[in-house]
């Protein structure tokens, strides 16, 4: 005899960004398909995952996109909240939950937040920057909206591999910094390649009448790096860790001001 409660199908996908596999569980086949499409190239076939999130889908509702995200910690749990989602995550058990409607933007935001929390403890960070690999070296191009991240990405030559046109993923591995591709897209709406390379330089973008590269003093580099880092947590210890990570990065990686015209010749100076 069948039980009174129908068995609920459970679906699972592992999304590996920056070499950190995160399992997402859902009971909705359409949502799973959306995740498979959205994170194509970053879906891991390996069964293991470092963290697991259970997604509970809610009916679509109006959510104010201008409401700031809040990320707080209480009793060993992280709480993440924006108008369009609520999420919790317990690092000790490596398990969390997300309540959101069936849209890609909410889970994308949660993944970004979780990765910033993980990276902050490891000396890495997410950065508002395009990044690309050329000749085995990764180059980051940081700047606010309009600084030229999309333009420099669009101008990249065929021998350059685009890691992202919007959000770079930087890990500290040993004493080196390594940039990874991300599915976090900007205006190009093109997923980065799921590959990685040691970071050779950070360029602070400025558009101007000529192509030129100028050195940037360490303190100025730190200010600009911090201004472009993604960081959400209202947590004193993690703020300090992010600060130390930024200081260590500018100690180790050359930072330049890249002034450029919207012309492919700028890439003759890079790589």
């Amino acid at each position: 005899m069948r039980g009174l409660a129908a068995q609920v199908e459970r679906y699972s996908i592992v999304i590996a960004i920056g070499g950190v596999p995160v399992r997402v569980n859902t009971t909705d086949a359409n949502f799973l398909q959306m995740l498979q499409d959205r994170y194509a190239g970053f879906v891991s076939e390996e069964p293991g995952a470092e963290f697991t999130f259970h997604v509970e889908l809610t009916p679509p509702a109006f959510a104010d996109p201008d409401v700031d995200v809040r990320v707080t910690q209480h009793a060993g749990r992280w709480f993440m909240e924006r108008g369009d989602f609520q999420a919790e995550w317990e690092p000790a058990t490596r398990v969390g939950s997300i309540r959101q409607s069936a849209n890609p933007h909410s889970i994308d935001a949660v993944l970004r937040i979780v990765h910033t929390l993980v990276l902050a403890r490891q000396g890495g960070f997410l950065l508002h920057s395009a990044s690309a690999v050329r000749n085995g070296k990764a180059f980051l191009f940081a700047g606010v909206s309009g600084a030229g991240k999309t333009t420099i990405s669009r101008l990249a030559p065929e021998d350059a591999t685009l890691l992202t046109d919007e959000i770079s993923y930087v890990r500290k591995l040993g004493s080196d910094y390594v940039a990874f591709g991300t599915p976090f897209t900007g205006e190009l709406a093109k997923l980065g390649e799921n590959t990685s390379a040691p970071v050779a330089a950070l360029f602070l973008l400025a558009q101007g009448p000529e192509n030129r590269i100028d050195p940037v003093a360490a303190a100025e580099a730190l200010r600009e790096l911090l201004a472009n880092m993604l960081f959400f947590a209202e947590d004193q210890e993690l703020v300090h860790r992010a600060f130390q990570a930024a200081c260590d990065f500018v100690d180790r990686v050359p930072v330049y001001r890249l002034t450029f015209m919207p012309d492919a010749r700028v890439w003759e100076m890079i790589g």
């Binding site: 360490a218 200010r223 911090l226 004193q236 703020v239 300090h240 130390q244 200081c247 100690d251």
Partner: protein, 117 residues
Amino acid sequence: MSKKLYVARNPRIAARMLGEEMLVMSGQSSTLFTLNPTATILWQAADGATPLDEIVERRICSEFEVNPEEALRDAEALAEDLAKHGILLISEKPISETPIARQDTPAHEQQPWEQRR
């Protein structure tokens, strides 16, 4: 005669000297401050045990050609400003590692010695 003041670095602040600039980050407000040379001297000398007038005499008057009384007044005002932003702790007694000294709420106006994130 005015009372002696003691200053200590707030343990909630992270700091790093990069090039010739001292940058400090408040974990509470996520605000980055760049200290000017005088504020940097105060920060480096603020051990909680050395009175402010001694810091001024030994570190500031020797570095800059200034009148000691005027330098002390300026240093007291600067220390108050730094305390308002949670960077330094000020007390009329020596400050131990677990201080209960005054730590004012950060003000909102931008100061000439700092830069916000």
